[in-house]
Amino acid sequence: MNKYKERELDAFLKKVTQSMELERAPKNFSIAVMQQLNVKLVNKSNIAYEPLVSTKGWIAILLLVSSFIGFLIFDEHQVKMDWFTTLKLNTLGNMNLLERVANTLFVSDSTIYALVGLLVFMGVQVWYLKRFFAKRQVLL
């Protein structure tokens, strides 16, 4: 098709398509859209994300941790522990419960391997499931 014919066809189609009409959306279409939108907005406000620790909380934690680290690094005074002996805790016997339990408890190597394996497996599963549900926008 040469350029002239092409232009002629274009002009004809411009004329013809003036009689074109759009398909009509169903009756009450816009009302249905707005109803769905309102439902979404209500749901969104009901289940809006709220952090467990607020920004102020995180700032307070950060200040506490940094002041503790600062104290450990820059404080040159020795901590005096002589008040501890006044409690006379040594008279109560062996207080180290963990050591006592550890001495009597026997755990085989294979049990430890199995437990470590289980922990790793659970860690991976939690991460994988979290991603999977986040993708499908399922709220847990």
Binding site: K5, M20, E21, F29
Partner: protein
């Protein structure tokens, strides 16, 4: 609809004024529904795609920077929603790659067109566009009815403007072939009969 005309409604909708968004839905519902129907073919599916498109547009409204017209941005969402719908239903986008090579007498075609009543003209072009494949129908609607530029159509379809130019050229030829068949059925029948005799 112009960019300036929509902008106040968009600004109000972003700040949470749902009545402003309702006005946008009202203004664009028929075009969005038409595009969705051309893609998915069934009215009930088209309604679903069109509704999802508006909901998606509302969610993403704050990301609309105004680089393009709101309508172009909305049609792009609709087109992508339609493709997602087809993919989900394991259906394919209807494409017609048949290239018609024929000499059409435009003046004769135009005379036949002019002799039709207004109502007949409306019905003829409606039926002709319906016979086109989904992509051809969308191209013709966006270019001739919505009067979008090749660049705007390319943006909606995710193609480059040269590809759109080629596709539009072919869509035009296919539409003129369908129109000729509708406006000059006896000519086509005669040609087909002649062709049949030549083959035999």
């Amino acid at each position: 609809m112009s960019k300036d005309k929509d902008q106040p409604l968009i600004t109000r909708a972003i700040t949470g004024d749902t009545s402003a968004f309702a006005k946008l839905v009202e203004n664009y519902q028929h075009m969005v529904y038409t595009l969705a129907l051309k893609l998915v073919k069934r009215p009930e599916d088209a309604q679903e795609v069109a509704q999802d498109s508006f909901l998606r547009a509302y969610q993403a409204l704050s990301t609309f920077k105004g680089d393009s017209k709101f309508s172009t941005w909305l049609y792009k969402i609709t087109y992508n929603k339609g493709l997602d719908f087809l993919k989900k239903r394991k259906r394919m986008l209807e494409i017609n790659d048949v290239d018609y090579n024929f000499n059409v007498n435009i003046s004769a075609l135009e005379n036949n067109w002019d002799s039709l009543e207004k109502q007949e003209q409306r019905q003829t072009i409606k039926n002709a566009v319906q016979e086109l494949s989904a992509t051809d129908g969308i191209l013709i609607t966006l270019f001739y009815f919505e009067e979008l530029s090749l660049i705007e159509i390319a943006d909606i379809l995710g193609l480059n403007d040269n590809a759109v130019k080629v596709k539009l050229f072919r869509a035009r030829k296919r539409l003129s072939y369908i129109l000729r068949r509708k406006l000059e059925p006896e000519t086509i029948e005669g040609y087909e009969a002649h062709k049949g005799r030549s083959i035999n």
